[in-house]
């Protein structure tokens, strides 16, 4: 599903490598946690996957798409196949829960009728039924993150990237979000989660990839948080 082959990314001319010959292979339907201190290269890794950045060297293939041959104008099409969730939610403040989720479908040119039948199902899935007409500022942090997750999965992507989705949430809501991600994973979506939350990493008993100074320092099938 996802293959990184000796990927290196440096910023600037003599800046250090944000990623240094990192090789990662992720199978379809896997649930992978990526940990590492700030500056370890987590964000860079995710930005490479969403093609916000190009690798300095190395090969990236996601869902059969080789990023070397990917044309710029096809990047939006690639991103429609990858769901992304951010720490700060990135919702449209002037639009309701329904409209925020519908937006992800509108950009693909889906008809209004299809949108009206698809969105409620996803709202149901993330447990926000009854809050369709609320605006983001009327919701709690946990609820906002659910909206963001709904927006990410409404197009049924094969891959969901969650970049510190629990970073702004209290423990209870954090666990709600993680449970939701596990549920989505059970439906067959590959989930990549980055987090600083030791508790979550240790209790999930999932595959853990640890990055340090741009290098993959450990990759364990049922890993725990390493310092």
């Amino acid at each position: 599903m996802i293959l990184l082959d000796r990927v290196t990314k440096t910023f600037g001319k003599d800046g250090g490598a944000a990623l240094n010959r990192a090789s990662i292979h992720i199978e379809p339907k896997e649930f992978v946690i990526i940990v590492g201190t700030s500056g370890a290269g987590k964000s860079t890794l995710l930005k490479l996957l969403t093609r916000e950045e190009k690798p300095t060297s190395g090969k990236i293939v996601v869902g059969g798409i080789d990023y070397d041959t990917l044309k710029n104008r096809h990047i939006p099409l690639l991103r429609r196949k990858i769901g992304v969730v951010f720490q700060d939610f990135k919702l449209l403040p002037q639009r309701t829960v329904f409209e925020n989720i519908a937006f992800a479908l509108e950009i693909t040119g889906m008809t209004s009728r299809e949108i009206k039948s698809t969105v409620p199902k996803v709202i149901e899935l993330v447990g926000l039924a009854g809050k369709e007409k609320k605006f983001p500022h009327q919701l709690s942090g946990g609820e906002r993150q659910r909206v963001a997750i709904a927006r990410a999965v409404v197009r049924q992507p094969k891959i969901l990237i969650a970049d510190e989705p629990t970073g702004n949430l209290d423990p209870k809501h954090s666990w709600d979000i993680v449970r939701l991600l596990e549920k989505i994973n059970r439906y067959g979506t590959t989930v990549i989660l980055t987090t600083h939350n030791v508790d979550i990493v240790n209790k999930l008993k999932r595959r853990v990839i640890t990055l340090d100074h741009g290098k993959v320092v450990s990759d364990e099938a049922k890993g725990s948080y390493r310092q």
């Binding site: 293939v61 869902g63 104008r73």
Partner: protein, 348 residues
């Protein structure tokens, strides 16, 4: 050989094979998509317009400011163009009124004058020529100067009519009358009738006025175009900055749109729609204000001797076209400036 032999060896490159498959799959999807393409385009277009309209109503202050600047710009363009045609008409009026008067001996009959008129008609610069008899000249003097009873008495008591008969000639271009001069001074028919004691009034104050007016027209045209151009540039800059401010405050949104796979057009569209709406409204405002101003100022301008009527007629007759033109200019300014403003935020 079984087909199994043809399978590629599991080398260290599992990459190329799936990408070929995905290309085939993509080709099939493309075919399917083409059926829905038109509908999608229509939907996308409608959505961009809707989002643009939302943005337009969202920030009342920016909208008002941008629309006012655009209105002023278009109004200046409108004023420049109408002023230009009005002045041109006025100058033409003056030119037609220039009478080169050739004074004739008494008594000259209308038939004798006719011969001269025919000869004058052969010169390209001559618009028309009129025979003004001595009596006509007297009457027009009385009409023009409104003399008192005593003066009238005095005029009628004179033994000879002091007003000479003349040929009044209108010319297209008062600056090239050499040909007429030549004819009047050398042609035998003219020499026979033309009063040798009175020089024809070729030149004089009126010609100076026309020359001055013509040079003013050029100056005004130049200033108008310059100021018009300047305002178009300023307006574009202000719209550009307005949109850029709007975009700057929403760059997170744009980032998000990019990350969930919105393409450039979909992100750019609403901003362009918003700016084109400024242009559209400004065009209507400017046209309405311009036409009303033209009507309102007509009497005053005519008092100054400006020929307003043909321009007004033109504006009224072609009002729909003028409106469309204004909308086109306003829309273009909006579209160009907003595209420039969004450009830097659209890099992938």
């Amino acid at each position: 050989m079984s087909s199994n032999d043809k399978l590629p060896k599991p080398t260290g490159k599992p990459i190329s094979k799936p990408s070929v498959d995905s290309k085939k799959a993509a080709a099939a999807t493309v075919k399917l998509k083409q059926n829905k393409k038109l509908k999608r385009r229509y939907l996308t277009w409608m959505r961009m317009v809707r989002y643009g309209a939302n943005n337009f109503t969202r920030n009342a202050w920016l909208t008002t400011a941008a629309t006012i600047v655009m209105t002023i710009t278009l109004l200046i363009l409108f004023t420049t163009l109408t002023a230009r045609t009005m002045l041109a008409d006025t100058v033409q009026d003056f030119r037609e009124k220039i009478g080169l008067s050739v004074y004739l001996l008494e008594p000259t009959t209308e038939d004798e004058a006719k011969v001269l008129q025919n000869k004058l008609g052969g010169i390209e610069n001559v618009v028309k020529s009129n025979f003004v008899s001595a009596e006509d000249a007297k009457q027009s003097y009385i009409k023009a100067n409104d003399p008192t009873e005593e003066q009238l008495q005095a005029i009628s008591e004179l033994p000879d009519n002091p007003f000479p008969a003349s040929l009044s000639i209108s010319v297209k271009d008062p600056n090239s009358i050499e040909e007429i001069d030549e004819l009047v001074k050398n042609d035998p028919d003219f020499l026979a009738i033309v009063n040798p004691e009175r020089e024809p009034s070729y030149e004089g104050d009126r010609r100076d006025v026309i020359d001055r007016l013509a040079s003013w027209t050029r100056t005004i045209e130049f200033i108008g175009l310059f100021v018009g151009g300047l305002f178009v540039a300023i307006s574009t800059l202000i719209i550009f900055n307005t949109i850029r401010m709007a975009i700057f405050s929403r760059r997170d949104e744009i980032d998000m749109m990019k990350l969930i796979g919105a393409d450039r057009n979909f992100i750019r569209g609403p901003f362009v729609v918003e700016a084109v709406m400024y242009g559209f409204i400004a065009a209507i405002l400017a046209t309405v204000i311009g036409v009303f101003a033209l009507y309102g100022l007509q009497t005053r301008l005519e008092g100054w001797g400006v020929n307003v009527a043909p321009t007004r007629e033109f504006v009224v007759t072609f009002l729909p076209l003028i409106l469309i033109g204004m909308i086109a200019i306003g829309g273009l300014i909006g579209a160009i400036s907003s595209r420039l403003a969004v450009r830097r935020y659209l890099r992938v």
